[in-house]
């Protein structure tokens, strides 16, 4: 069922998920699977639907009024008015704090942090406030309507402060959910689920794919469930687990490995907390091997959590050590980015050494 990814700039090459309702439309350029669009357009469509379907929903953040620096909020202010879609002062702790207050009053709140690299001033509001709002009040209050969107990850020229993948920090915080989509279709369905989930969600968008990833996206209102991972490529020799933009690189490695006779199973985790352990466990019980790959630094990355869990659950079934192909333990570098990244060939080599262990 997995499609051929090839180069990212090619169109319609993403694995097609079984989720979502098929669209039947007479509009031009619309296939039975929906309209061909890139990831930022899919996000934009999800935001349109969210605002359309709930009059008590709001979208705000730095520069979102004119459409956002990545164009994700294009047309929203014009359509839904500046009281529901608006610019905020340049202050991340303010954006999230304001969002918590708005959500605590029963609204659906979609707050944008312009880059995940700049989410840290809001860390206290997310960790100490949003995540504990329900628990500390004995469920008298909650800010479950809050979704924080932030573009994350490498983009080829972002250096320290436009490239980071800070997901692991948030995976250590009970009370929030962390979601990362891999493609336009997934982005739309997962974002709508996140917005409507009654818990605060941090939704990281792979900015590398905003324009590069294009696939058919159903135009209707559909949701993809959270905390359910998906096998996007079936295989028998080794299980690969990843999320977001890294899956495209992993898929290329799977294809190259296949040429060398290695059958790889690729899993998109989608929701990092609370994560779907069962699907990974089932796969590793079948393959006996596990490789995890993410852009964030290897030490303390979420890959460590997956490795530990699978070793606990599948120790006797494992035929090789769990392999992690991740970012280096350095700040995200500019000119050294090609060296820092968990590239296709790094993954391919790790697949081979794990299979031949």
């Amino acid at each position: 069922m997995a499609g051929l990814l090839g180069r990212l700039s090619r169109r319609s090459s993403f694995p097609v998920s079984g989720h979502g309702i098929r669209m039947f439309s007479t509009v031009e350029h619309v296939s039975e699977n929906g309209k061909s669009m890139n990831l930022y357009s899919a996000i934009n469509q999800a935001l349109h639907i969210a605002l359309e379907t709930d009059p008590r929903s709001y979208v705000f953040g730095e520069d979102v009024g004119f459409g956002g620096v990545f164009r994700c909020t294009t047309g929203l202010a014009e359509r839904f008015g500046k009281s529901r879609v608006f610019n905020t002062p340049l202050c991340e702790q303010g954006i999230v704090g304001f969002g918590i207050g708005l959500a605590a009053m029963g609204n659906r709140v979609i707050a944008e942090i312009q880059f995940a690299d700049y989410i840290f001033p809001a860390f206290d509001q997310i960790v100490n406030e949003a995540a504990k709002f329900r628990y500390r009040s004995g469920n008298q209050f909650n800010c479950g309507g809050l979704t924080i969107r932030a573009p994350y990850g490498a983009v080829g020229h972002g250096g320290h402060y436009h490239s980071q993948s800070p997901e692991a920090f948030f995976c250590h915080v009970p009370g929030i959910k962390v979601v990362i989509p891999r493609s336009p279709r997934e982005a739309k369905g997962l974002l709508l689920s996140s917005i409507r989930d009654p818990n605060p969600v941090v939704f990281f968008e792979p900015k590398w794919l905003y324009r590069q990833a294009v696939e058919d996206v159903p135009e209707d209102d559909y949701m993809i469930p959270l905390s359910e991972a998906e096998v996007i490529r079936e295989g028998s020799d080794i299980t690969l687990v990843g999320w977001g933009a890294q899956l495209t690189i992993m898929e290329q490695a799977c294809l190259d490995a296949e040429k060398e006779g290695i059958s790889c199973e690729l899993i998109d985790l989608k929701t990092l907390i609370p994560w779907d352990k069962e699907i990974v466990e089932t796969s590793v019980r079948k393959t006996g091997r596990l490789l995890i790959s993410h852009e964030a630094p290897v030490t303390g990355g979420f890959g460590a959590e997956i490795a530990a869990t699978i070793v606990e659950r599948c120790f006797l079934r494992l035929e090789a050590p769990v392999s992690r192909v991740c970012g280096l333990d350095t700040p995200f570098p500019l000119v050294f980015e090609p060296f820092y990244m968990p590239t296709k060939n790094k993954i391919l080599d790790a697949i081979k050494s794990t299979v031949n262990y």
Partner: protein, 464 residues
């Protein structure tokens, strides 16, 4: 940020040419993406370019008419020019005066500007201030006896607590710091409910998860206290904005201490409320001390009141130990916030007569006679009591009856609260999310088995 992006792109691009990296990068397209960068940089760079050009060529912008000579037409509006190079001084020659109604003996100063209160309201205000005093005294002692783990009094700040609460509508949403239990008391949270929270028992709405004094009640529009300082301020802006959008006849009211104004969230909260034109009343209890840190070590401004104007927020300094002044200021601020849809800042000057908390001994860092002065000469409860007594609305008999009854009720509440069992163990795992996820289900099963295996390792009183 955008500049960095532009630079980094060209840097990568030139390095790629120099180092021949493109061969390495073939597998992942590292080349700059004109479409992304164009939209990313477009509006920002064009602005920058224009302003830079003007700066470099001042001779090109010779004033062509009278208006240009007098005013700078800036995106934020027109600003008048001056030829005088004059820095704004760091402070005004006179400190912002403190609005009061009472003299130190609880007599209304002639020609004072205040909102009258009826006998009924005045008596209720006094009763609640006295009740808060008794509650603080008894809970403090209960902590000293080891019956509760922690406590924090409002001694010296009773007028701010009660008079502000009295000035508000029950629909106004409170986002407290932690030294404002009087607001909740005013709204009808019972002494039993306070006791249940402090004991963290089965009847505690917070289910025993937070330290004593972290009260919260959705019935009373009082959001649950959280320990981090100032986090409630930007949240108040969001709450206020919601009330505005729903066209409610209500505002958000949030409290903070003087130390809290140094937090980034203070800035965030005031600035967001101002920009979003949200009905929020910010009440700062400037009590002189943030644990052991004196206000002279906290900021160099004339307190907090002067900060309002910098945010475009109307503000007032009020004697926080003058219940009538607090009542009048908060009620007026509340009216402005709701009818004009704007935030208002109140700095209430007061003194933390008690220690910061039961974990603190404030005699180690401040003079005993300073505490004594505020406790005796500036006591807000005594001052208000004199006024209600002078009006013939309160007698010594009323006083002893109230204090004795409250004391009895509290001791009873403590006895009952102490005997209540704790929340069942399952409440450890509930409410992390709306529905318990699998990892928590597994951990719950594991923990219950462990407790059954080694009950001696765990405190008694928990239903497993």
């Amino acid at each position: 940020m955008a500049i960095w992006f532009a630079r980094s792109r060209s840097l990568v691009s030139s390095l790629r040419q120099n180092l021949g990296l493109s061969a390495i990068l073939i597998k992942r397209d590292y080349s700059p993406r004109p479409i992304i960068s164009k939209s990313f940089l477009g509006p920002v760079t064009s602005h920058r370019h224009e302003s830079t050009a003007v700066e470099k060529h001042p001779d090109l912008v010779q004033p062509s008419d009278e208006e240009d000579v007098l005013e700078l037409d800036f995106p934020g509006g027109k600003v008048g020019y001056t030829s005088e190079m004059k820095f704004i001084p760091e402070s005004t020659s006179h400190r912002v005066p403190c609005y009061r109604v009472f003299d130190k003996n609880g007599r209304i100063i002639p020609n004072s500007d205040f909102i009258p209160v009826s006998e009924k309201l005045a008596v209720k205000m006094y009763e609640q201030m006295a009740t808060l005093q008794v509650m603080d005294h008894i809970f403090y002692e209960a902590q000293r006896q080891g019956r509760i783990s922690f406590y924090l009094t409002s001694v010296g700040e009773e007028a701010i607590n009660i008079a502000s609460a009295a000035a508000l509508s029950p629909d106004d949403v409170i986002l407290p710091q932690y030294r404002e239990p009087g607001v909740l008391l005013w709204r009808g949270f019972t002494l039993e409910e306070f006791a249940n929270q402090c004991f963290g028992n089965k009847a505690d709405y917070g289910k025993g998860r937070q330290m004593p004094i972290h009260y919260g009640s959705n019935r009373h529009n009082y959001l649950t206290v959280s320990s981090p300082i100032a986090t409630q301020l930007p949240q108040a802006a969001g709450v206020g904005y919601s009330l505005k959008m729903e066209k409610k006849n209500a505002c958000a009211v949030t409290f903070i201490g003087d130390g809290g104004t140094s937090e980034g969230d203070f800035h965030a909260g005031l600035n967001f409320a101002a920009v979003m034109e949200a009905p929020v009343v910010f009440i700062c209890r400037n009590n002189g001390w943030a644990i052991s840190t004196h206000i002279s070590e906290q900021f160099r401004s004339d307190g907090i009141v002067v900060k309002g104007q910098a945010y475009g927020i109307r503000s007032i300094r009020v004697d926080g130990n003058d219940a009538l002044a607090v009542y009048s200021a908060v009620r007026s601020a509340r009216e402005m916030a709701v009818t004009e849809q704007r935030p208002v800042l109140i700095e209430a000057m007061t003194y933390r007569v008690g220690h910061h908390s039961t974990s603190d001994d404030s005699t180690k860092y401040r003079a005993a006679d300073e505490i004594q002065y505020w406790k005796m000469s500036r006591n807000p409860v005594n001052r208000f009591k004199k006024w209600v007594e002078d009006n013939g609305w309160w007698s010594e008999e009323d006083e002893s009856k109230l204090r004795s009854n409250t004391r009895k009720q509290l001791l009873q509440a403590i006895q009952v609260a102490e005997k209540w069992e704790k929340q069942p163990l399952t409440e450890l795992f509930n409410d992390v999310y709306d529905v318990k996820p699998k990892n928590l289900e597994e951990q719950e099963v594991g923990l219950k088995a462990l407790v059954e295996k080694r009950p001696e390792d765990y405190p008694p009183g928990f239903h497993v």
